[in-house]
């Protein structure tokens, strides 16, 4: 099961690479990237893919193929997911001088690269299963432009559980189902008083209810001020909504993947109820975000990239993914 869950990172990566290759990402406006960083954003991702080939031809083949056959409806969704989370991160970073980011289930996500360059007082921790961070570590150290962007050496000198242990960027192995291990890790690499952004982008959906709730509670009580940003699918709560049930059976049949709480937290409200300890919780589905937060100039840009063949399908899908922001 763990392996199957780890492999979902290749899906997230393929989707992102597809959105980049067609031009949906980066969004220099919404991601607040300079001309130089926009260019690097694309180069970093390209280099990640090319370097992946050196370490796993199979994974590369899979990602490369999926990337090439991504439909516009998927590119839109990846775009929304990425800029939605980035906008929330940026808002907090701009409002607070010194911030630490904890990215739970980071997978191959590279958003630390532009952020570390844009915000000199930012410290950033990436956490995932050992297998996942090992691959990420190898790629970050092997690719020249990734290595130089982080100021890494080619040799690996960090001590377990860290694979990268810099002043401002750490990459750490941890099973987030194990709350003792997680607490111990956060004790050594984060500080209680520093305003903290916690990211869980398609992580909680793979965890069981008890484990995910314990993770949320533990982390929220660990930091005095924080913003938790979470992106996940929801099963849908309308009486004749079959999206969640079909999704569960498709994922089960095609790859034996399970999303244990998809139908438990099947609405925005139920999903957000897990952060009820936070005084300020905002939750939107991605269709709302598309309609309310993406300016017309951006939509026009997206329309010029590919014809979107079916708007209703986009709506059906995006109403089943949510972005939750809990501030405490």
């Amino acid at each position: 099961m763990e392996r199957i869950i780890q492999q979902t990172d290749y899906d997230a990566l393929s989707c992102k690479l597809a959105a980049i290759s067609v031009g949906y990402l980066p969004s220099s406006g919404l991601q607040r990237l300079s001309v130089d960083l926009s260019k690097k954003y694309t180069e970093w991702h390209r280099s990640y893919l090319i370097t992946l080939k050196k370490f796993s031809r199979r994974a590369f083949g899979k990602v490369d193929k999926a990337m090439r056959s991504s439909f516009p409806v998927m590119n839109y969704g990846t775009y929304l997911r990425t800029v939605g989370i980035d906008a929330a991160i940026l808002e907090f970073l701009v409002a607070n001088e010194k911030v630490q980011v904890v990215n739970l289930g980071c997978g191959s996500d590279l958003r630390m690269l532009p952020l570390l360059q844009m915000f000199p007082h930012l410290a950033y921790v990436d956490i995932d299963y050992n297998e996942s961070v090992e691959l990420k570590n190898s790629i970050l150290r092997e690719s020249e432009i990734l290595r130089t962007s982080l100021g890494l050496s080619k040799e690996d000198t960090a001590k377990s559980p860290f694979l990268i242990d810099q002043e401002r960027y750490k990459l750490a192995a941890c099973d987030l189902n194990d709350i003792t291990e997680t607490t111990r890790l956060l004790d050594v690499c984060t500080k209680r008083e520093i305003p903290t952004i916690v990211i869980s982008e398609c992580l909680l959906c793979y965890m069981h209810n008890n484990e995910s709730q314990l993770l949320i509670n533990t982390i929220m009580s660990k930091f005095s001020h924080g913003l938790w940003i979470s992106y996940d699918p929801i099963g849908g709560s309308q009486p004749n909504d079959r999206f969640g049930a079909i999704m569960q059976s498709n994922l089960k049949e095609s790859r034996n993947l399970e999303m244990p709480t998809l139908m438990t937290y099947n609405s925005k409200e139920k999903y957000a109820s897990r952060w009820s300890a936070a005084p300020n919780v905002i939750v939107n589905d991605m269709w709302e975000i598309f309609n309310a937060q993406i300016p017309e100039s951006e939509r026009k840009r997206l329309r010029s990239l590919q014809f979107l063949d079916e708007l209703e399908e986009l709506k059906v899908m995006q109403t089943h993914y949510i972005l939750m922001k809990a501030q405490w």
């Binding site: 999926a66 439909f71 969704g77 999206f243 498709n250 049949e253 063949d309 209703e312 899908m317």
Partner: protein, 308 residues
């Protein structure tokens, strides 16, 4: 002469059709379609069907639930290909029926029946996967260029894939389009295949990047000017299978149940009888597996259909 019944039987079973056979089917279809006008005249009773999108097994259900081509007249509103796993078989099956029963089936071009769109949305890749080259895709695209742009039932119901165009407000004008080409990015031919009805006061830009949005005013004007009572179109997923708008002056019919194997919608077809009464038939998607547990629909697809 080709043995159409034999090809039909193979297609219904999802069997591989030799390239040479596809070539001849496409050539014969072109000859037949060439003589049709841009807007075909059709008599009642007739069953109007919306998007199919390569969902062959659901297309078979559609025929089963609505009488079958041996007994019933059909209009298909386009989007035969792309997205589903059996675009080729679905399209060829419809072509075979067209050749076998020419006046019982009318095929209208959808926005997916173009070279550019099929390269993005799956039909091209499907052909390359099934044949190792793109020849069959090219033959089919040649046929796409000859498909008509609309149909008119008993001079009273106008059928089109997408909707109306601000450039052409009468059926007679539509008849003058030189349709035998790849669908352009703008202009009347593009709009007919891409536009959508919406609660708008006047013509507006479409969020799809092609065609227009049009409202009740545009529909009322079109109905009056052309002396018809209904516009029947497809093009938009409707979770309930069909949707009437503008006091019944326009209907959207959608015939791909559980679209893309994940949307959870039902499908519909619309039967028009001799008194122009409308009767909708709703149907559901076939099960992914048959009674003995064998996959009917290949679910082991590596496509990233969900955000994981």
């Amino acid at each position: 002469m080709m043995d159409l019944d034999k090809i039909i039987a193979s297609l219904r079973d999802g069997k591989h059709i030799p390239e040479e056979t596809v070539f001849r089917l496409c050539l014969n279809s072109q000859e037949l379609l060439m003589n049709e006008g841009n807007v075909t005249q059709v008599d009642t009773p007739v069953t109007i069907c919306g998007d199919i999108h390569g969902q062959l097994h659901d297309l078979l259900t559609l025929f089963e639930k609505s009488g079958g081509v041996e007994k019933t007249r059909y209009i298909f509103l386009g989007d035969f290909v792309d997205r589903g796993f059996y675009s080729l078989e679905s399209f060829l099956l419809l072509l075979c029926y067209k050749l076998r029963y020419p006046d019982r089936i009318t095929l209208i071009r959808g926005n997916h029946e173009t070279r550019q769109i099929t390269k993005v949305y799956g039909f091209y890749d499907e052909v390359v996967r099934k044949y190792g080259n793109s020849n069959v895709w090219r033959y089919c695209c040649e046929v796409f260029d000859y498909l008509s742009l609309g149909a008119i039932i008993n001079n009273s119901i106008f059928c089109v894939h997408g909707g109306l165009s601000p450039d052409m407000t009468t059926v007679d004008e539509i008849r003058t389009i030189d349709r035998k080409q790849e669908v352009p990015h703008e202009g009347a031919m593009c709009d007919l295949l891409w536009s959508d009805p919406e609660d708008v006061d006047t013509w507006s830009l479409s969020p799809r990047g092609a065609g227009f949005l049009f409202g009740k005013r545009e529909v009322d004007q079109f109905l009056e000017k052309n002396n018809v009572e209904l516009i029947a179109r497809a093009h938009q997923l409707v979770m309930e299978g069909y949707k009437e708008m503008f006091d019944g002056g326009l209907v959207t019919v959608w015939s791909a149940p559980n679209y893309c194997y994940r949307c959870g919608n039902v499908a519909a077809v619309l039967k028009i009888d001799d008194d122009l009464n409308r009767e909708y038939t709703i149907f559901e998607a076939v099960q992914a597996q048959n009674e003995v547990g064998n996959a009917i629909i290949p679910t082991k697809k590596s496509q990233m259909d969900y955000f994981l």
